[in-house]
């Protein structure tokens, strides 16, 4: 159904990849890419190859926090709005206040514009599983009907945005609204606190805790958004690669050296080593209690399974970044090779 698609947040790694994918979707005739005003277009993928058929593209530098977005929607007659303009860390947005403004005020302006628009028929919103929070009282696996209750930072922003989206869905039942709660992305261009965390030479962990974690390969994230644009799926969906890993397991597979420390010391380190090592309070909690969600609602709706499981996404990430694969295990292998009599009896 989609003809004119407006996408926000093209400055982000996800926005850039989605824009790159949507330009080759036959149903999309025109693609309006909204990037932030200070023109951080550097992350945009290169121009499409001329020999391939692609949608008309227009890149609009625009501050989503102003009312201009409404004019843009009216002027272009967009029928599908894909909102990916989320600042995930204070550092990336120039401070927590500015981050909140980008996230919450930006979403309010955009949703206002959608509500008043006569052309918009579909809204796809990037959300996060961070809304569920992370604590010892949480169920082992979150389904979409567990009431989100996180009240800090990024998760609070996303929860607020979801609240406004719900309001829009109520007032404009004719608009198909898809809210996608993504787990942590991994991919070659993904630059998030978590990807930086896994590439540190020594990895701080919380002493005595080993949380469970899930990943989504960025190409599966892009595919989900592409399907949401071309098919109609109203509702809230968790999006994750199948399977679960422990942080300890991730570090071993990536050949990282864990440095366990008390939670308080981790906070202190984060305050001291700002920039080099930024851990927000919600990430600190994630490193204690972890978070696992159920992605089966989306799999049923799309009749599709993410191509890469959590473990595969992580393996790809390890290979991409050239992290030493199983450093200590190779040491054991070398040791065994030095004992020829043992090598004969060794499985694998």
């Amino acid at each position: 159904m989609a003809r004119v698609v407006l996408i926000t947040g093209v400055w982000s790694y996800l926005g850039a990849e989605v824009a790159g994918a949507l330009r080759f979707v036959p149903e999309v005739d025109r693609l309006i890419e909204v990037t932030s005003q200070d023109g951080q277009a550097s992350r945009r993928l290169g121009d499409p190859p001329p020999d391939q058929e692609h949608a008309d593209e227009q890149v609009v530098p625009l501050d989503v926090r102003t009312g201009q977005i409404g004019e843009l929607i009216n002027a272009t007659g967009a029928d599908t709005v894909v909102h990916l303009g989320l600042a995930t860390t204070p550092a990336s947005a120039g401070g927590r206040a500015s981050m909140k403004e980008t996230n919450v005020i930006g979403a309010m302006q955009l949703l206002n514009a959608c509500q008043r628009s006569a052309t918009v028929r579909k809204l796809v919103v990037r959300s996060s599983t961070a809304v569920y929070g992370t604590s010892a009282r949480n169920p082992a696996v979150f389904t979409e009907d567990v009431e989100p209750r996180e009240t800090h930072g990024y998760a609070r922003d996303v929860l607020d945005i979801e609240g406004y989206v719900r309001g829009l869905a109520r007032r404009r039942p004719d608009i198909t609204v898809s809210v996608l709660r993504f787990v942590n992305f991994l991919g070659p261009h993904v630059d998030s606190p978590l990807t930086r965390y896994f590439t540190m030479p020594v990895t701080p962990t919380v002493l005595g805790y080993d949380p469970r974690i899930q990943f989504l390969d960025i190409c599966d994230g892009v595919e989900v958004i592409r399907r949401m644009v071309t098919e109609d799926h109203h509702g809230i969906y968790n999006v994750t690669g199948r399977g679960v890993m422990y942080i300890s397991q991730c570090l071993r597979r990536a050949g990282r050296v864990p440095l366990p420390m008390p939670a308080r010391a981790l906070g202190l380190l984060a305050d001291l080593g700002r920039g080099m090592f930024d851990v927000t309070p919600d990430q600190r909690d994630l490193l204690r209690y972890g978070r696992v969600v159920d992605g089966s609602k989306l799999e049923h709706a799309l009749n599709w399974v993410p191509r890469h499981s959590t473990q595969e996404a992580f393996a790809r990430f390890v290979a991409d970044r050239g992290l030493a694969d199983g450093g200590s295990a190779t040491a054991i292998d070398r040791l065994l090779a030095a004992l020829p009599s043992a090598a004969a009896g060794m499985p694998g």
Binding site: P139, P211, R212, Q311, G326
Partner: protein
């Protein structure tokens, strides 16, 4: 000469080969866990052997009525809870895994405090356990798991020795509601023996508050003898299972009917209390 030397050196190496390959796979992170965090390899290789030693040689646990535990499909084992530390739940897990013909892996639902504590929180998950919440219970039932719960919670664990084998209140019957909603049978289970492992003569409340524990046990040996006081007394154990209480005929709507939930809860509680009396009589002397 060199050949025979290699063979002799090879024998012990071959014996420890599984251990080396286990250590290797652990160090490489080369293993899989389920969504609850259950790590079968770690559980079987590291966590179960010490529990098994206690089960076989220290307590000499004997099982009764194992035929009441179904070989397949979801069911809820409801048992009494005592003994200061949840050793009884571990013994129940070992017993069902080793002695049940279908080697059923019991997934226990624990209090949220377990998941807030360092070390214990992830070991509980790796051992296959979950949180005592309706969501976790429902999910395990749907997967066809054998789920275990101790509805007395800390009231049972931290009760004084003088109240041994007297069941405490069964909470609000959340376990019964979950079982009814999923239509799975409830298997009442009585554990005799755990009451004597740490006979608790007093509860040092100020210390409990200081450490954030639900209680701070004072036994004849603890805290006076320090770590030695933490060795459980070698009591004799019996674990019995009663006939399953079916819930599938009640319908899922009954889970929201407090009267119905209370009735099922009460029936299960009575059955366990009755079985406790029988097993205590059968066992006789706790140490001997």
């Amino acid at each position: 000469m060199t050949g025979s030397g290699a063979t002799r050196a090879g024998a012990p190496l071959e014996r420890i080969a599984p251990l080396i390959s286990f250590v290797r796979s652990r160090m490489a992170g080369d293993y899989e866990v389920d969504e609850f965090g259950h790590d079968p390899e770690l559980n079987e290789t590291v966590l179960m052997p010490p529990a098994r030693l206690l089960y076989r040689h220290w307590f000499g646990v004997q099982m009764r009525g194992l035929e009441n535990v179904p070989a397949t499909g979801a069911a809820l084992v409801v048992c009494n809870h005592s003994g200061v530390l949840p050793v009884d739940a571990m013994m129940l897990q070992v017993g069902l895994l080793d002695e049940h013909p279908a080697h059923r892996h019991l997934r226990l639902l624990g209090a949220d405090l377990v998941y807030a504590l360092p070390v214990l929180s992830h070991l509980a998950r790796k051992s296959g356990h979950a949180l005592a919440s309706p969501q976790d219970a429902e999910r395990l039932f749907q997967a066809g798991d054998l789920v275990g719960v101790c509805p007395e919670g800390y009231k049972g664990l931290g009760k004084p020795f003088s109240q041994r084998y007297h069941l405490q209140r069964f909470g609000r019957g959340g376990f019964a509601a979950s079982a009814i909603r999923a239509g799975v049978p409830i298997i009442p289970c009585a554990i005799v023996g755990a009451e004597e492992i740490y006979p608790m003569i007093a509860n040092a409340r100020p210390l409990a508050r200081l450490f954030g524990f639900p209680y701070f046990p004072v036994t004849p040996l603890f805290p006076w003898l320090g770590p030695i006081g933490m060795i459980p007394l070698p009591s004799r154990w019996l674990i019995g299972f009663a006939e399953p209480v079916a819930t599938d005929h009640l319908g899922a709507a009954a889970a929201d009917d407090p009267a119905m939930v209370f009735e099922v809860t009460d029936r299960v509680r009575e059955t366990i209390q009755h079985m406790l009396h029988e097993l205590v009589a059968e066992r006789g002397e706790p140490f001997g």
